[in-house]
């Protein structure tokens, strides 16, 4: 066990370094390597000058006096905005703030209640993304894994082969791509579902009506997501299970005269479960990050669309805030997975991950 603890400790350190690097890279890119700072400074000095010029007392001052005053005020305003430090130092400050999750205020974006706090903006969007993508991921995983198990039992049958091709084909095309085609088909031609959005305008007045309306808008993106991702689950499940089924210990279990059910659960599914469980956990976390283009296509106001809005307006605090939250989520999950994996697969504990 100490080997495993040491292994976990090392993983934790490495993941922490990864987290810092990812967040810092985002800070650099989102600020365009300091260019945004220059823009902001220019904007501040313009605003300050304008304000002073509107003051009649100011315009009566001599030229030199005016210039000195402008410089002074601009400097003060820049200091107030925290822009007086050179960018490398500011980037480190931003890094620290991001890592401590003080996400600050957005430059342009606001939540629907009008709050400019990055945390508020993100928290408003997160439930919507979870509603669509986490639900979709769970449905796709359940359906896909079930299909994969059936395929593994009937391996190389015609059913299995068609299911493989369908799975690969649907999985290769990204969800947004199916989204476009599905909107054309189900929304324009068949008129079954709305083409996008999360709620009708104006929203229904009754709570039941509201829920039904959201569900109605949810259907098409949900169907799309499940359709585009179940193939991953069925294909990997099938292959992992089939791989396990061909192991000698399964043959041995059969020779031992164990009943089929025992063989299936104890000798096939249990050894197959660590990679599948890992995938599910990762996919669930990833589902929180939404999907930028899918959300654009369906005009679904979640995290992905927020990301796109933030990037389009170069709203650095929001970009950084989103990245840091997602990076945290991901890294904590990866770490938890190490532990889960070890619980499921006794080989990990002693060999410290060498098996994977």
């Amino acid at each position: 066990m100490p080997g495993f603890t040491r292994y976990l400790a090392r993983r934790a350190v490495l993941l922490a370094i990864t987290l810092i690097l990812v967040v810092y890279a985002t800070v650099l890119i989102a600020n365009m390597g300091g260019y945004i700072d220059k823009l902001l400074k220019g904007q501040i000095s313009f605003e300050v000058t304008q304000r002073l010029n509107r003051d009649p007392a100011f315009t009566r001052l001599p030229q030199q006096e005016r210039q000195r005053m402008i410089d002074e005020r601009v400097k003060a305003a820049i200091r107030r905005a925290g822009l007086d430090q050179p960018f490398p130092i500011r980037s480190l400050i931003q890094l620290k703030q991001a890592l401590t999750l003080s996400l600050g205020r957005a430059s342009f974006l606001k939540s629907s209640t009008g709050s400019p706090e990055v945390a508020d903006i993100i928290m408003e969007r997160l439930p919507r993304t979870i509603l669509l993508f986490t639900t979709g991921t769970v449905l796709a995983a359940v359906a896909g894994i079930y299909l994969g198990l059936i395929q593994a039992r009937r391996a190389l049958s015609r059913f299995d082969k068609s299911a493989i091709l369908l799975a690969i084909f649907t999985y290769v095309q990204p969800p947004w791509f199916f989204g476009i085609l599905f909107i054309l088909l189900f929304s324009f031609y068949l008129r079954i579902f709305p083409p996008g959005g999360m709620i009708s305008a104006p929203p229904p007045a009754t709570p039941t009506g509201y829920i039904l309306d959201v569900l109605y808008h949810l259907s098409l993106p949900l169907i799309t997501w499940v359709f585009a991702t179940f193939g991953y689950w069925s294909y990997t499940t099938r292959n992992i299970v089939l791989q396990t089924m061909s192991e000698d210990f399964v043959t041995a279990a059969r020779a031992k005269g164990l009943p089929e059910n025992t063989i299936l659960f104890k000798y096939v599914l249990r050894p197959s479960s660590p990679p599948i469980v890992t995938s599910i956990a990762l996919a669930l976390v990833f589902s929180w990050t939404g999907a930028i283009i899918t959300e654009i296509v369906f005009n679904w106001p979640g995290i992905g669309l927020l990301f796109w809005e933030a990037i389009s307006t170069l709203d650095a605090p929001v970009i950084i805030g989103l990245t840091v939250i997602l990076a945290y989520l991901l890294i904590i999950t990866v770490f938890l997975l190490d532990i889960i994996y070890a619980l499921l697969d006794p080989r990990i504990k002693t060999l410290g991950g060498a098996v994977r």
């Binding site: 890119i29 796109w308 990245t323």
Partner: protein
């Protein structure tokens, strides 16, 4: 092991023999041929002209593909362009009169979508007066234009410019005794006389020969006028047009080299890099292996798409630069882990241990035992990852972020989406680019499936 085909040639042979492999090859070869013919059929300057909207003005906007006319002849029409005119020049004292006459036959069952008259006028100093009159098969004449055009090309938007709609209004007043609030010249001009002749649904098309007469009068002897009448239909070309009248066939053709080049190069380079780095790490020793694996963990955790989008928004980049960024973000990754575990596994195998024990050099073992086992997988992995790069390019172009200079399938899709093609049902603008992307990714996918079947005995039993 003994069943695994050795040698690249044999692998390719087996892949081509399987149904999936043959179909995948065929699809990709077809695309490759299309990509190679693109510069001939639609030269690069045509692609460059993609963003030059004047270049496309002879095409109808938002036209469905021309072949739908065969499927439903009574709801689609083609574009009629009249550019052959007879020339008659006469002198009346100080005046010079240039008369140009041309005719065309209109036989479609539906009304045109738009009518446009182009006047290319040339003179020395004084503007001529130009009058254009369309004589209909029923003998009625309608004035389309009456004015003093400037030197060079003049666009007379008969159907959309209120100035010219008014002229049609006069005609309607004569025929119906009143002027409706909204005038649709492209219908009125081609409708049988009735009280519905301004109503697309209820009017009847007046089929027959139409004559356009353009008179130019000037005080100058030196006067020329070259008219061109375009009666736009609602179908055009192999794949239709977009809202800027661009021929989607050109866009679709140029998408092929873009997608193939991007997908293939990105897949080959990233997979090879990842395979080599992963294998090298495992081969060199635990230290190198550890470094490579941690780097791979790092690259697996970074959100590549958002960062790429960010980079694209911040810096407008061309396709090669984009490719470089993509490769940079995929130096190590999932494939590194696969190749690494393969090397570790192969190294444990008895024949390698045996080779080591009888003193074969590491290099020899690498080239004779390890690489031959990994290379077949590399092919499968390349074919497997190519579609994801095709779609990555499509995704960025969809957002309007890719290389702005050349059209790509993703770009067409994005423009269709932005223009509301999904809500207005301009299906050709969506279906064709999507179909092209799908065919390429299907080609690669089938190929990777076939490769997987050959190199992975698990699928091969039968």
């Amino acid at each position: 092991m003994s069943e695994q085909p050795v040698g690249i040639k044999q692998i390719f042979k087996e892949v081509a023999k399987s149904k999936a492999g043959a179909l995948g090859f065929a699809l990709l070869v077809a695309m490759l041929i299309l990509a190679m013919f693109t510069p001939i059929l639609a030269p690069y300057n045509v692609a460059r002209a993609w963003n030059d909207l004047r270049y496309w003005q002879d095409n109808p906007a938002l036209a469905a593909p021309a072949w739908v006319r065969f499927l439903s002849p009574n709801s689609y029409s083609g574009t009629v362009t009249l550019s052959n005119f007879s020339l008659e020049r006469s002198f009346h004292g100080q005046y010079t009169l240039v008369r140009r006459t041309g005719s065309f036959v209109y036989m479609y069952d539906v009304f045109p979508t738009e009518v446009r008259l182009l006047l290319d006028v040339n003179y020395t100093a004084r503007k001529p007066r130009v009058i254009a009159t369309l004589e209909r098969p029923d003998g009625k004449g309608v004035t389309l234009y009456n004015g003093m055009p400037v030197k060079g090309e003049n666009v007379v938007s008969v159907s959309v410019d209120p100035k010219y709609q008014k002229l049609i209004g006069y005609f309607l007043y004569e025929e119906l005794g009143y002027v409706p609030a909204a005038i649709h010249p492209e219908i009125v001009l081609f409708a049988k006389k009735s009280k519905y002749m301004n109503d697309r649904q209820r009017a009847d098309v007046l089929k027959g020969t139409y004559i356009l007469e353009v008179d130019a009068i000037s005080f100058e002897k030196n006067l020329s006028v070259q008219p061109k009448l375009i009666v736009y239909g609602n179908s055009y070309g192999i794949a239709g047009t977009d809202n800027y009248r661009r021929d989607l066939t050109v866009g679709l053709m140029w998408g092929a080299p873009v997608a193939l080049a991007f997908g293939t190069i990105a897949a080959v380079v990233t997979v090879l890099l990842q395979v080599v780095i992963g294998a090298a790490g495992a081969w060199i020793g635990p230290r190198a292996d550890e470094i490579v694996q941690r780097a791979a963990d790092f690259f697996l955790v970074i959100p590549v798409l958002p960062i790429l989008i960010l980079i694209n928004v911040v810096y407008t980049i061309n396709i090669w630069l984009l490719l470089s960024w993509v490769i940079l973000f995929s130096i190590v990754g999932g494939v590194t882990k696969i190749s690494r575990s393969m090397v570790l596994q192969i190294r444990e195998e008895q024949y390698v241990e045996a080779a080591l024990s009888y003193g074969a050099s590491k290099k020899r073992i690498l080239t004779f035992h390890i690489l031959p086992r990994i290379i077949p997988y590399t092919f499968a992995l390349i074919a497997l990852s190519a579609p994801s790069y095709v779609f990555l390019e499509a995704a960025l172009s969809f957002l309007g972020l890719g290389d702005p200079n050349i059209p790509s399938w993703g770009r067409l899709l994005g423009q269709a989406f932005d223009a509301g093609a999904l809500y207005y049902g301009w299906w050709w603008w969506v279906i064709f680019p999507a179909l092209m992307i799908m065919l390429v990714s299907l080609g690669f996918t089938l190929l990777s499936y076939a490769f997987d079947k050959v190199v992975n005995p698990r699928l091969r039993e039968e």
